[in-house]
Symmetry: C2
């Protein structure tokens, strides 16, 4: 079985890639969400896009439905609402315990 923290991390990890954020943004903007449409939008190989879609699907962020020879993808409302709920429980909650307007101070060494 999978820990809730692990599942949350998996979702956030899936979100933590510019290409996948682009895909999600595109999926949000259209209802004709055939894989090939996405491939046209992203300047990467079809196999690479398919791999990203798999990551998003396994994280529970998108849904795939077969339509003839193609697959139609859309965002998973369930997945995003789960994410939002758990983000509210953790990350949003974190901020409340902090003072506002903290300024970044020197760190011992900062080479990168």
């Amino acid at each position: 079985m999978e820990d809730e923290t692990t599942k949350l991390a998996k979702m956030l990890k899936a979100l933590g890639n510019p290409v996948r954020l682009q895909i999600l943004t595109y999926l949000a903007s259209t209802h004709s969400c055939i894989t090939n449409d996405i491939v046209q939008q992203i300047p990467l190989a079809q196999s690479t896009v398919s791999q990203h879609l798999k990551v998003l699907r396994q994280a529970g962020l998108i849904l795939g439905e077969i339509e003839g020879p193609a697959t139609c993808y859309c965002l998973s409302a369930q997945g995003f609402s789960w994410l939002r709920q758990h983000l509210t429980l953790t990350l949003d909650g974190l901020l409340i315990t902090q003072e506002p307007n903290l300024i970044q101070l020197d760190i011992r060494t900062e080479t990168e």
Copy 2:
């Protein structure tokens, strides 16, 4: 310079790790946030924890302030508010465009 999508992805990627989520949760729960306290909480080597802290710092999620020989860490309110804002603009927004109660349909092959 860094793209906004890239910065957002960097933050989400930093969040997408169970250990780092644990660290953030601990940081939220206490104000005595010396590195060594965190090391006590996490069953990993000190160097590994330090590495995770670096990732969180470079993503703009935490702040480090030197206090004598130690470093005091806390959450970055600025960082989290930036994140919340951009999540609202993108991910939260995405859900609105979708129909509710979508059900996961068969995917062509699902081996994992």
